[in-house]
Symmetry: C2
Subunit: 281 residues, 2 copies
């Protein structure tokens, strides 16, 4: 033992309505291995996409408070497109720590990648209906065309991430989207993956996009932004000294079995035991 | 006008967690056009499949009470496999009218159709995990092999009911299921469609099953059983006199837009206005 003082690693809370946000946690762990992570999937109350903004804001605020008050999170990453689109303000009001969503970092990365200023976004129906990506792109001077791809989440959850059927579904969706873009006079050169399930389809999507089109993974972009935020606010030395020691605890409000069974595919490591928490109605 | 007294038509309540149960309503209307129907989709709280038995029982009982107390239903058809599997008793305890689920009629129809005594069941993950069809088949002396087909509901909701991708997914699922059956020494000659979305895929499924295999639609079987029940309890003359006059009112607890947009495909007629009802948390 040396007498050197090692600052404690930061505690990062990661929140999703389901467990797709584990892809954001995976990206965080890659970039910031020496940290404590608490992940909460509000699986009892998903899908958020079919619920009202007020209901989503209440659910997300309760979940954020659990991560901060019960798990000591010093930073929160909202790894859920619907909650990021509809409840980021409510979450920021509900907890006294910095909060980051997935949509703004995705739009920022699209802005950095696009030369033409025209981008495509694929996401769930709920995210597309919120037009949150289009608004965030527009704020950066980009024109964005969004498309809902409702079959992609079930295909990922079925485990068909490298399956000919999935490749065909992706081809159909992207053909429709690029035809719509051409019909509107757009010349897109970037595609944003606006759903936390889609990183698992990235190899198939990379093969399906036209040559020269950048694929932007909003999970990766959010993790990059989070690392900058954490490093900017930590005491010097925290997180940087000692062996990498990643501590991950996962919580769910229901469906622990499915979370444990599928979660490791998203996280690319065992999720271990998932603890059940009750956040009420 | 004649002076003949026409008995009022019966009022039938039909309940589902979503709007897939509209296929059961469609089958009811075909068989019993002169009736009032009140359909409730508890869309705010779906999917039931990921929730505990106690929670499902509470939701289903509240929904049943709305149909009986507010809409005057004299008979209830539970057009939801999960609620039929996990909450039929709770619903029967909650309301003073006859209640019929979809699982027992499906198993009865399989028993009537199968000569070998071996049957296959395809359904959602939640229904398969409940093993309600296997139990109902076993009670009739049948051996049943169940398979979850989680991609079929999203394919129906995407509108791909006559699409090559859907045909391929059905082929893959049925190949796996018949291979599993053969490995277990079963000789199945009937396939039960154990999900209210699947009747929309019946043409593709009929083409995919081996020659000589009967396809049993549990929505049709439930409607047949309901008509027998209603006719057995009605005052003579009720429902049988006068021009067919079908009255349908649809209610949902959320997501009225999606219900109105997709519902007519399931019902094979316009669903009209869907009224929002609030059953609480």
């Amino acid at each position: 033992m040396t007498s050197q003082t090692i600052a404690p690693p930061p505690t990062i809370g990661v929140f999703d309505s389901g467990f797709g946000g584990l892809t954001v946690l995976r990206s965080l762990v890659r970039r910031m291995p020496r940290a404590r992570y608490a992940f909460l999937g509000d699986t009892a109350r998903l899908p958020y996409g079919s619920k009202s903004r007020r209901t989503i804001a209440r659910y997300a605020a309760e979940s954020a408070q659990f991560l901060v008050r019960e798990q000591g999170a010093q930073f929160l990453v909202i790894a859920c497109n619907t909650a990021s689109a509809l409840a980021l303000d409510a979450i920021q009001d509900a907890v006294p720590v910095p909060v980051l969503g997935v949509i703004e970092p995705g739009a920022t990365a699209a802005h950095a990648a696009s030369k033409t200023g025209d981008v495509l976004v694929i996401a769930t129906d709920a995210t597309v209906q919120s037009h949150a990506y289009a608004a965030a792109c527009l704020a950066r001077g980009l024109r964005a065309l969004e498309k809902a791809c409702p079959l992609l989440v079930p295909l990922v959850e079925e485990g068909w991430t490298n399956h000919p059927v999935t490749a065909e579904v992706i081809r159909i969706y992207l053909d429709e989207l690029t035809a719509d873009a051409a019909a509107q006079g757009l010349n897109p050169d970037a595609l944003v993956l606006g759903c936390t399930h889609y990183p698992l389809l990235r190899p198939l999507i990379e093969r399906a996009v036209p040559a020269g089109m950048a694929v932007i993974d909003s999970a990766e972009s959010a993790a990059e932004a989070a690392v900058r935020l954490v490093n900017g606010q930590l005491a010097p030395g925290a997180g940087g000294v000692g062996e990498p020691a990643t501590i991950i605890r996962c919580f769910a409000t229901d469906s622990v079995e499915k979370f444990e069974r599928l979660g490791s595919r998203f996280l690319e490591r065992p999720v271990g035991q998932v603890d059940l928490v009750d956040l009420g109605g």
